[in-house]
């Protein structure tokens, strides 16, 4: 099997598996006052400190949650509610056109059910938000916006945004900024304090930790109304018995991924560049979506996720490509949203101005910590005949 879908989920790092399984054997609710509870609390707090340290946050800023989806929902809805409560004129929600559905659909829900006005920030042909666009939008709606959300790195095409610049713009209008950094943490240098963001989502399973654990980094001074009510475990912003084993494993994974990032980023980018060059060698009319591989750095790091290769293969259906590659034991993704497993043309590509046919004929190969040169070789060896066959299928239908 050639697994080239790390952006969907990546294998757990051995260190995280070890910490996870070890911790699963111990009892203790971190809210209990007895010895077992205190030990569990200690483990969680140490893990929180580890996470905080690795991503440039304070331990109190780490609000543990079940993953990216919950963190995104909490940030969008919670910050919206808090800001609107403080100033009823602030009913606007600004999101970029290429956000993950966890952000987009949360914003749409606020518009449909909470009287919010949703503003969608356009992106350029590479999928990036221009801070000047944000400035223009906020200037046009001064005093009306409750929260802005722009992702750190896009999950489909890998494009990185300049979060520092966007946060500065948002703050100049006294608007908090949330960033979905699910794809960024562990792949790019992410420093919460330096980024200026008020809230940041991260999740374990994209960086070598378990599925079902993640965090919203929330600045100490950011106010946020809870989504889940109960014991108030996490700063009264999030309730639910803490997942000790998951948190411990998340911390181990974040620590390892962040420490290893400088080396792995270079390695992955080299593998990815080789993959793209050779795929285009096999299929000369294939085009790379997103920023060029040699684009200038953004915010002191790569302009594109190092493991991301997203290409359009003219004359093909992504569905057909995926199925044929699967038959060759190569696992990748069309990168687009699925409803009942139905591939729709990606809203990300459409927002970038890619036409619908090209959007449908796209594949995302995403490399990660377990990727090797042999994976690249396998994909390159398969792509020519697969594209030819897929072209035949589209031509006939």
């Amino acid at each position: 099997m050639t697994y080239l879908d790390h952006a969907a989920t990546t294998p757990m790092l051995p260190v995280a598996v070890a910490r996870y399984t070890e911790a699963l054997g111990r009892v203790g609710n971190p809210s209990s006052l007895h010895t077992a509870g205190r030990r569990a609390r200690k483990e969680v707090e140490e893990a929180r400190e580890t996470i905080a340290e690795a991503v440039g946050a304070l331990p109190t800023e780490v609000v543990l949650a079940t993953g990216g989806t919950e963190a995104d929902n909490l940030a969008l809805k919670g910050v919206f509610w808090a800001r609107r409560a403080a100033d009823p004129r602030r009913t606007g929600v600004v999101v970029s056109a290429v956000e993950h559905h966890a952000v987009l659909d949360a914003a749409e829900w606020l518009a449909e059910h909470e009287g919010a006005t949703m503003h969608v920030l356009a992106v350029d042909a590479a999928g990036r938000v221009d801070p000047e666009e944000l400035r223009a939008l906020l200037a046009a709606h001064a005093g009306e916006i409750a929260v802005v959300s722009v992702m750190w790195a896009n999950n489909e095409v890998g494009t990185v945004n300049d979060i520092r610049a966007l946060a500065d713009v948002a703050h100049s209008f006294d608007v908090p900024l949330h960033t979905d950094a699910v794809q960024a943490v562990g792949s790019l240098p992410v420093d919460f304090a330096a980024s200026g963001a008020d809230a940041l989502s991260l999740t374990g399973h994209k960086l070598g930790g378990p599925v079902g654990v993640g965090a919203l980094l929330l600045r100490r001074d950011a106010s946020c109304v809870p989504l889940l009510h109960g014991g108030g475990q996490e700063r009264d912003v999030r309730s639910g018995t803490l997942d000790v084993a998951g948190t411990v494993a998340l911390a181990a994974a974040v620590r390892a991924a962040v420490d290893d990032a400088p080396r792995r980023t270079v390695e992955l980018a080299a593998l990815r560049d080789d993959l793209v060059a050779r795929l285009v060698g096999e299929v000369p009319d294939a085009t790379l979506n997103g920023v060029p591989l040699d684009a200038a750095p953004v915010g002191g790091g790569p302009a594109r996720l190092p493991g991301n290769a997203h290409l359009s293969f003219p004359g093909c259906e992504g569905d057909s490509l995926l199925m044929l590659l699967d038959a060759h034991e190569i696992e990748c993704s069309t990168g687009s949203a699925c409803t009942a497993g139905v591939a729709r043309p990606s809203h990300v590509l459409l927002a970038m101005g890619v036409d619908e046919a090209a959007a449908r004929g796209s594949l995302r190969f995403s490399l990660g910590h377990s990727s090797t040169a042999a994976d690249v070789d396998a994909a390159v060896a398969a792509i020519g005949p697969v594209v030819e066959r897929a072209r035949g299928a589209l031509a006939r239908s």
Partner: protein, 352 residues
């Protein structure tokens, strides 16, 4: 062979896929997404196009160990099945969308794509027998679906596999249970999959500019009432005419004819429905052209059988019925059988 199993999420297509695999074929399961905005859950026993049905299909493929994908056929389905369905009703005819789906989607768009992707055939859970390119009625007379497959050409049939033709539905359900398929007890889908409410009239009203017209007595020309639009009426229809006055003789009245231009719907007594001659167009024919006698024609999916003498030439088919048939609606297919063998089919254009 490498075969593609079209899996609706129902029991029949799941067992068909399982049997194809047991027969030694290399099977890949595909669920056809026919609606651009599928409902999350199935409504009652109707339809096969909800997300829940897609999940059921996936679970069956998992249990059978088959690779499984969802193919988006929504645009093709809309253009080739739903839009013509609406247009046919608007023209006063009565379409059969299941037949169109077989003709244009399952054994055309899907088959073509499958062949291009390296498959040899498409497997479905239809109840019909197919041997050496000859299509026959299913062993289970109550479930026989040869009527909605009669439209398939020899070329299409050459790439079709129907593993359920020799089985009874009860056997198929028992086999599904034995194989651990969760859909073993799932109710049969009936009606039209894209009208899960079963309200065809409402569906048409939403999509057509319906204009009111008159219900007239076919014999006297007397206006008996008014209707809100011709689309949705079917020749032979008795219920839902909205006639509050009974016929003078107290007997029920039926739709005899639909005139979309004048928007008149002609009604009359049952015996006026008797048809002795059927003209049809676009024939698909599996026997030498010319005349065949002592064959049986079927003019709708359930019932509507009569012995006949049938003449087929390029572009048209006529059937002289040896016994009259009632409720023969233009737009439906006439399928011609020699005993249980399908000789061919055509689309009914006129009756006399």
């Amino acid at each position: 062979m490498r075969v593609l199993a079209a899996m609706s999420g129902g029991v029949d297509s799941a067992v068909a896929a399982a049997r194809a695999r047991d027969a030694g074929h290399d099977v890949v399961g595909v669920h056809l997404a026919l609606s651009a905005k599928p409902a999350t859950m199935r409504e009652g026993a109707r339809g096969c196009c909800s997300v829940e049905d897609s999940h059921d299909a996936r679970r069956c493929a998992d249990v059978l160990g088959l690779p499984f994908y969802v193919w988006d056929m929504a645009a093709r389905f809309s253009a080739d099945v739903v839009e013509p369905f609406v247009a046919e009703y608007a023209a006063g005819r009565t379409p059969n969308p299941c037949l169109r789906c077989n003709e244009k989607i399952k054994f055309s768009a899907v088959l073509d794509r499958a062949l291009a992707l390296g498959f040899d055939a498409v497997v479905t859970g239809h109840y019909a027998r197919l041997t050496d390119g000859v299509l026959r009625r299913a062993a289970d007379a109550g479930k026989d679906q040869s009527y909605v497959l009669g439209v398939l050409t020899a070329e299409q049939l050459a790439h079709a596999v129907f593993p359920l033709g020799d089985s009874h539905k009860s056997e198929v359900r028992a086999e599904a249970a034995r194989r651990g398929l969760v859909v073993a007890e799932k109710p049969d889908s009936h009606d039209i999959c894209f009208i899960p409410s079963g309200d065809t009239r409402g569906f048409l009203d939403e999509r057509l500019e319906q204009a009111p017209g008159e219900l007239v007595d076919a014999a006297s020309g007397a206006v008996l009432g008014r209707h809100t639009g011709v689309a949705g009426f079917t020749v032979g229809q008795r219920h839902g005419l909205g006639l509050d006055r009974p016929a003078p003789d107290g007997r029920p009245r039926y739709v005899l004819g639909i005139e979309p231009v004048s928007r008149q719907v002609r009604v009359g007594p049952a015996e006026e429905l008797d048809v002795r001659s059927v003209a049809a167009g676009r024939p698909v024919w599996h026997a030498p052209w010319g005349t065949v006698d002592d064959v049986v024609v079927q003019v709708r999916a359930h019932g509507g059988l009569a012995p006949a003498r049938v003449t087929v030439s390029e572009g048209s088919l006529t059937a002289e019925l040896h016994e009259p048939l009632r409720g023969v609606a233009p737009g439906q297919a006439v399928v011609v059988y020699d005993d249980d063998r399908v000789l061919g089919s055509a689309t009914i254009t006129a009756t006399a």
